[in-house]
Amino acid sequence: MNDRNRKIGEYIPAPDDDVIVCRCEEITKGEIRRAVHDGMFTLTEIRRYLRTGMGLCQGQTCTRLVKGIVARELGIRPNELREATGRAPMRPIEMCILAKDKEEKE
């Protein structure tokens, strides 16, 4: 149970807020921290709201960093946050390649 009205304190600007955390989508630490104060309490919600982990690397670089930032903002342990669902394909793949699971009849 996750009560979205629980008190997490005010957003306090920090000197490293402009550090880029998700490099693919260029999302900063400050944007992630502010999203938590806008009610995005899970890694999935942060991803849907900010696009962290939605770029070419699919979160392989930033997931742990985002987790740490969100956990600190919520005052919980990082392992209490579940990572957003991994999605196929494992690596970006061209449409013309993916389309070849079946050769078309002429």
Partner: protein
């Protein structure tokens, strides 16, 4: 814990209703069964904000939302919902496609919608990336698309700012009547919440929740699959569909293309957690490349699936319930809920406040199936 209105389901319908009620000063409690807000169709759909191709019963809701709400929504929610009103092209290449498109077009035009048939040449004037295979299309210039993630989270964020109370991971087990009216909401964790009005907007789960007070809505879960590509330079802003409905989609603000898919095997998807099938994305890529050969080299980065709550007659239930005063149902959106959600949120708030609704809801009654 009590509230004037309890909303079961934190998808875009529930969040939009919560926003409208909170704006009115009504105390609202939203209970979301999963861990995440907007976890069903709200975050998994293709983002169409369409009037063309809709059932005539649903058309007034889509027209109202597009005329009165969508343009203002980004300002209302202090969130860029990435709304584009650049028209909808529904594409065809065969005589059978033309017949399907003509039928849809005629039906829409009869109800006052600006939609017409165009030929392949005119379609390529609107979208120069279309291949010569396209020989006909329907064209509705007032249609468009938006970002379902931003719209859902935007409604949530603003409802919360206006005082709506949200609890996630709180799955509703049953509703209970007191003195003949719906009053209590009982969750699996054992908590009991009380409200004067209870709105059930929980997708397919609404069926089980409503059945605990003796109401059954005929609907089925049907799989919906979607994929997204890497970002590309801006190419076009129309919403796209096909006569066969084998794919539909658009380019987003981000530059990526979002395409909804239809392989034909969706009715046979495995129950439980929604999984992307191994065939749908490949099949859709073949369809997309026929009509948009220039997308052949664009990379797909992600795919996902979700459940639609498909109603027996493919339009939703948006209704009070005679046998259960206090209960309001909003379910069975059948995969068309996103585009009309701003209107539905407003209408649900009016039902809960016992105000006159801005649109006639008699076509969406819960007891129309007899």
């Amino acid at each position: 814990m009590n509230a004037e209105v309890i909303i079961v389901g934190g998808g875009i319908i529930g969040c939009a209703a919560a926003y409208n009620l909170a704006k009115n000063g009504t105390s609202v409690l939203v209970l979301e069964g999963s861990e995440n807000i907007g976890n069903g169709g709200s975050s998994r759909n293709g983002g169409g904000v369409r009037q063309s191709g809709r059932d005539p019963r649903e058309l007034p809701l889509a027209m109202y939302a597009i005329k009165h709400i969508w343009k203002e929504l980004s300002d209302m929610l202090d969130t860029d919902v990435e709304y584009y009103q650049h028209g909808n092209l529904r594409l065809g290449s065969t005589q059978k496609h033309r017949q399907i498109l003509e039928g849809l077009t005629k039906r829409g035009a009869e109800y006052g919608l600006d939609v017409r048939m165009i030929d392949g040449y005119e379609a390529r004037q609107i979208n120069p990336y279309l291949s010569e295979e396209v020989t006909c299309a329907s064209w509705c210039p007032t249609d468009g698309h938006a970002n379902p993630l931003m719209a859902t989270m935007g409604y949530y964020k603003m409802a919360r700012r206006l005082g709506a109370h949200f609890i996630s991971g709180e799955k509703v087990k049953e509703l209970r009547k007191i003195k003949g009216a719906a009053r209590q909401v009982v969750t699996e964790s054992g908590n009991v919440y009380e409200g004067d009005k209870i709105i059930v907007a929980a997708g397919y789960d609404s069926r089980f929740i409503a059945s605990t007070v003796g109401i059954d809505i005929p609907m089925q879960p049907v799989l919906l699959e979607t994929l997204v590509t890497e970002a590309a330079a801006p190419m076009f802003w129309q919403m796209l569909g096909t006569a066969d409905a084998d794919f539909y989609g658009h380019q987003t603000t981000h530059g990526s293309f979002v395409f909804g898919l239809n392989s034909g095997y969706e009715p046979y998807a495995k129950p439980g957690k929604p999984f992307s099938s191994s065939i749908a994305a490949s099949a859709a890529c073949r369809g997309i490349m026929h009509y948009f050969p220039s997308l052949a080299d664009i990379k797909i980065v992600r795919s996902w699936a979700g459940w639609m709550d498909s109603c027996a007659d493919h339009v939703p239930v948006i209704s009070t319930v005679e046998e259960v005063p206090g209960l309001i149902l909003a379910c069975g959106f059948s995969g068309h809920g996103f585009g009309i959600s701003p209107a539905v949120g407003l209408l649900l708030s009016q039902l809960a406040l016992e105000q006159e609704t801005v649109l006639d809801l008699s076509a969406f009654r819960y007891n129309r199936f007899s």
